[in-house]
Symmetry: C2
Subunit: 329 residues, 2 copies
Amino acid sequence: MKKLIDRPESLLEDSLRGFALAHRDLVALNDHPHFLRRKVAGHTGKVAVISGGGSGHEPLHSGFVGLGMLDAACPGQIFTSPTPDQMVAAADAVESGGGVLFVVKNYAGDIMNFEMASEMLDCPFATVVVDDDVALPANHSTGRRGVAGTTIVEKIIGAAAEEGADLAACKALGDRVVQATASMGVALTSCTVPALGRPMFALADNEMEVGVGIHGEAGRERRALGTASEIVALLAEAIHHELQPAAGQTALLHVNGLGATPLLELYLVYEQACRYWTGRGVTVVRSLVGNYTTSLDMAGCSITLTMLDDELLRLWDAPVHTASLRWGC
Amino acid sequence: MKKLIDRPESLLEDSLRGFALAHRDLVALNDHPHFLRRKVAGHTGKVAVISGGGSGHEPLHSGFVGLGMLDAACPGQIFTSPTPDQMVAAADAVESGGGVLFVVKNYAGDIMNFEMASEMLDCPFATVVVDDDVALPANHSTGRRGVAGTTIVEKIIGAAAEEGADLAACKALGDRVVQATASMGVALTSCTVPALGRPMFALADNEMEVGVGIHGEAGRERRALGTASEIVALLAEAIHHELQPAAGQTALLHVNGLGATPLLELYLVYEQACRYWTGRGVTVVRSLVGNYTTSLDMAGCSITLTMLDDELLRLWDAPVHTASLRWGC
């Protein structure tokens, strides 16, 4: 295992300290229990938008704490849900009268722990569950997984909360973005969790995992390594089939790197995906290309499409100032 | 070789088209010869800041084209210098009466080609050569290599040019930033150039390359894989020895990922490097952590320190709006 670490046990804490230090203008780290909160508070009565999940997907969620996005993020151990005490402490720290909106990726551990935290809150709350991964069928026993669409959901809810939308409106908006969003990914390599010390799964030199989850979960099928064109067609078709956009609709196209894939390749994928939808009458009006929801050092990417209307477009464009997304402010 | 590509020969062009499409609000791509230029022009008479180099280091330089940074970037083939016709065409397109400042990383091919381009210009020009890599001795036959400090140089010169500094001032400023900047990197793995199809060099599972160049060039020494603490000490000591900062001085600390190293690890490295200099009386007042000068899919990182004064700090903080760096605008 080749990693820039001292000990697997201290990686998360060492890294969080570095993150909080590098971005001390934006975020503050609470030590026990761990959470990151934005330093410049929102207006009194603002809905507190809180997310979290296993670490190893950075910049998700820590890199999205700040003006116009998250009020706090709760980092779990690598690929492990954070615990309810983190979420409750984060909520206590940032709630200012508008209630708490939890944004939770659909994994059993996250769902359970955020639910336990909700029961311990003494303020109004709501939860938006992100389940944008169309690799699994909609009726899968534990539902679909939350993957790179989470960034879009957090950006749009965060903008609405910053503008003064109330808890019910933020919750309804979040559910609407989730409905309008579909993603699918492909892994060219596995990833190595430091505490495990070896690749999470084996993938031969001539194989790829289509529909992979962001923790290396098996997807739709393992098949022979394809060209970018073949891969984009597989991912885009699954997404298109799910969203069934009508000609003339507008969309945001997000090509997300899983960690070890160079930008050169991600922009190539973007160009092909953009062409796929343009050819079907969809107008790609906004784009996000880069490593946003990663799986440690996995090579591969995911494609996410969010169908936009005027309100979602306006909220996507609204000012944001976080470590990893910033514009217009 | 596992890459999201169709054919190695078309990767660069396919990727540039995707980049220009994703960032069509910011940049325009010229096809023959290839260069990227900012879409919103600077003021008339502004010094045109132009950089370029081999591709495979993205976001450097394409991701830095825009307000407050580069007016144009000339991408060569992967790890190969761009050609003089690209630079001349870029200069013709963006020069507006203030002359051209080339920012060139110190590699024989780049130096030669930018020099040939300079001779073909019919406007005033100057060149800032970036040679921040302290892995090689200062008296090395071809000089020191230009690595991740390039981002800092381009940001600060770009801000000055945007403010109206003239060609001589931009050139002097760039030289001053280069003088104040030192970098060193470490590779944990090699990288794979698509046209080659295999790792550029071999590195055993228990080895690392200390002082590696951004094309996989050998550095100071190959040694047994160390902990992050050991690695940070090696890199920071070489940088500290070069810059010899006095206690009380302020600095910008840039931890750069080489492509395949997760942000978790980069922030851990940042924390340790920050502690190294803080312990020596240097105040780290600005930070940049992430993948900015990459080597395709290489695992590893580099550390860059730039000693700041009030002017450099102000220019670093000045508005910038590019694909990969944006703030304050």
